[in-house]
């Protein structure tokens, strides 16, 4: 226990004292605003993250409408530069990053058998910093700021807001990482932790490796733009070139790692099996984390030439394999182990529920996005011009597959853990169509842009109005693909709206089972919803799947000792 933690007993006492009265609106608002309950902090983060993601999808929809019409007919030409940035930043820093970190903050301490998150006030401050920073970014963009913006003060505000949002995300990631490394229940070794918790740890560390690099660049840009000569970084028009790498593949893959972990965990739940080759699965997820270095070092294209000396070949091939190949290998390992899991559990009367469907579809889409990132790195395909570093829409398509695919899996996470977080069970018949709709929307939004990339449709994060004009000009024969992407964005908007509606719908008041999905990890041993302090008594964990082991012990007394003591010690 540290000096800045709330003592668990205080939480218990507060919960007990507050249980007898109905709080007023202001009391409840104050409670939420100053909460140290990780579940509430996580819900705040996921809620606002979904909101910004929805806004980004709407902006993308409007931009596609404008792109298909006459220039300036639907959206004023002068506003397009800022709108594209709203869309790209909203998609990544505003959307998928808080969604992934928020779900992890809400769920991971429960999964670890912990009564609290480490540094809860740091996590809450991180949320506020992200929220305030994102709001400043959007306001500055609305007032002619951002990369290439015309108002110098708003450009400075944009850089400040983005820096603040990044600091917030780093604070949250630091709190999450510390939690996973220090607050696991007794007996829960690193290999015994749930797959989602492991992927959250990898995601948190990858976040801490990537975002500080962006923050350092922002410091340079701010000093240069506000006080300097603007000679080094080319003033406002250089900003986009210096920060654009953070809002595209491979960097965005960092925020998809928890989604991959959630999907992998769902296979064991649905097929009622123990996770086979757990160490290999963990290694596969960690390999995806290598993408953090690809983002930080901005390795986008690679000259791999066979027709040359050995040293030149190695110089080209090594970064390509390292930065593009390893993440692809990682997601391939996860997919293969999922198939092994399914094969092992095929006779167990598999329980295909909504979270599983969300997870599987999300995993496939993220995998497709990572594969696209691999392809983009091949210079001969000319999907990125190494001379001008101008990207085609292939990059945007790959980014959308990763971001929307991860969002889909994370929505599945919200469905799965809704009993613990909200005390309600979302009906499969209501959310399953949304999973299918979301997958359709993701494919339609991303895949056509990948095809359009081969038709030389320009994309990327714009640095100036000239680049915006190129992005907004539809290449020959690309109309149909842009139209399909527009339809996909519209479907994603509908999916997100419908999902938010389901979550906000008042509960019918029915009690929910503690473990309605047959989960295997310790959080399913608590009542639904989980109490403020998570656990009255911290359990000893002697297996990677403790509830699976406990159920096995209930149904057959054989091998109980082996289950509870576990071979993964």
């Amino acid at each position: 226990m540290t000096t800045i933690d709330t003592h668990p007993d205080d939480s218990v006492a507060a919960a007990s004292a507050g249980g007898a009265t109905v709080p007023s609106f202001f009391t409840a608002a104050g409670d939420w605003a100053t909460t140290t309950d990780h579940k509430k902090i996580g819900r705040l983060s996921t809620g606002f993250g979904m909101l910004v993601l929805l806004a980004a999808a709407i902006v993308a929809l409007l931009l596609d409408v404008e792109r298909l019409g006459d220039p300036g007919a639907f959206i004023d030409t002068g506003a397009q530069l800022q709108l594209i940035q709203m869309y790209r930043i909203g998609l990544v820093v505003g959307g998928i990053a808080p969604l992934a970190l928020g779900l992890a903050v809400a769920v991971v301490p429960l999964q670890l058998g912990a009564r609290q998150i480490a540094f809860p006030r740091v996590a809450l401050t991180g949320f506020y910093a992200w929220l305030g920073g994102t709001a400043l970014v959007m306001v500055s963009l609305g007032l002619n700021g951002g990369a290439g913006g015309g108002d110098a003060d708003m450009v400075d505000l944009f850089l400040t807001g983005l820096g603040l949002a990044i600091l917030g995300l780093c604070a949250t990631a630091g709190s999450l990482g510390t939690t996973i490394l220090t607050t696991r229940a007794p007996g829960m070794t690193m290999r015994r932790m749930p797959v989602f918790a492991w992927s959250s740890l990898i995601g948190a560390i990858a976040t801490l490796l990537v975002l500080p690099v962006l923050f350092g660049v922002l410091v340079y840009l701010y000093v240069d733009h506000r006080l300097g000569s603007q000679a080094n970084f080319m003033g406002v028009e250089g900003i986009g070139a210096w920060i654009g790498w953070a809002f595209t593949v491979p960097t965005v893959i960092v925020f998809a790692i928890p989604a991959v972990g959630f999907a992998a965990e769902q296979f064991s739940v649905a097929f009622k099996t123990r996770q086979p080759m757990r160490g290999v699965l963990f290694a596969g997820i960690a390999l995806i984390g290598v993408t953090a270095y690809a983002g930080a070092t901005q390795q986008f294209v690679h000259d791999v030439t066979f027709d040359t000396s050995g040293e030149t070949f190695i110089r080209g091939a090594a970064p390509f394999v390292l930065f593009s190949g390893l993440p692809l290998l990682g997601v391939t390992v996860v997919l293969l182990l999922a198939l092994v899991n399914a094969k092992d559990g095929a006779r167990n009367n598999p329980s295909v529920r909504a979270p599983f469907v969300f997870g599987v579809l999300g995993l496939l889409l993220v995998g497709a996005g990572i594969a696209a990132n691999f392809v983009e790195g091949i210079t001969d395909l000319e999907l990125v011009d190494p001379a001008t570093n101008t990207a085609t829409s292939f990059e945007e398509g790959a980014t959308l597959l990763v971001v929307y695919g991860a969002a889909l899996a994370l929505l599945g996470g919200l469905v799965y853990w809704a009993p613990k977080l909200w005390g309600r069970l979302l009906a499969d018949k209501q959310v399953l169509p949304l999973a299918l709709l979301g997958a359709l929307g993701t494919v339609l939004a991303g895949a056509p842009l990948i095809v359009a990339g081969f038709l030389d449709q320009i994309g990327g994060y714009p640095a100036s109005q000239a680049e915006v004009d190129r992005i907004m000009t539809v290449a020959d024969d690309a109309d149909i693909w842009i139209t399909l992407s527009l339809v996909g964005q519209g479907i994603m908007v509908l999916t997100l709206l419908a999902f938010a509606g389901l979550l906000l719908k008042p509960s019918d008041g029915r009690e929910v089972d503690a473990n309605p999905y047959g989960g295997q990890t310790v959080e399913w041993g608590t009542p639904s919803p989980a109490p403020d302090h998570n656990y009255d008594h911290v359990a000893t964990v002697a297996s990677a799947e403790p509830l699976f082991a406990a159920r096995t012990a209930d149904t057959a007394d054989t091998d109980t000792a082996a289950d509870t003591e576990g071979s993964a010690q």
Partner: protein, 197 residues
Amino acid sequence: MSAGPATVALPPAAPPAPRRQVLMGTALGCVAGTMLIGGMLAVWVLFRERVVDAGERFPLDYIIHEVATNVMLITLWALCLFAQWAVYAGNRGDRAHTALALGVTGIFALAYINAQAFVYAQMEVEIADEYYGALFYAMTGTMLAVVAIGLVYTVVAAFHSLSGRLRQTEVLSGLALYWYWTAAAYSAVWFVVYVTK
């Protein structure tokens, strides 16, 4: 609907082990800080390379006062000794020595800030200088912020340790780790910014 029993009683745990959250949180912060400083130095080296490749000197118009910058380096590594001394004294329950060690740590941090201000005053770098000014102030200013954060951390650790929790040295250990990392980070900055120029 339910695939399992309503609740499953797992065996109660033994008392949890010490968690060392502050130390681990500090370590993760140092990882992030390494990427921050490393990334900024990489940008610095990129611009330096461009200038040098163009046949110019980097920096062109300024003389770096190496004595002051060397003293800053020695100050930070010496500071680590005192931070570690605070951990040692705290473990022994020696309140007077812990207070003295933390006090000297804070003074050394202030000395670093003072020396940096001296370097600024002596070099008289114009921030709006064509290519060097913004780079120089952004890089050294970030390092200054790192030391300032360490100073705040030292004050917090002093309040924590001297207010009755002397033997709970986790915060002091975290503080020592932070200063070790700061010294290492400044060593890199010193070499790139002040030595290789």
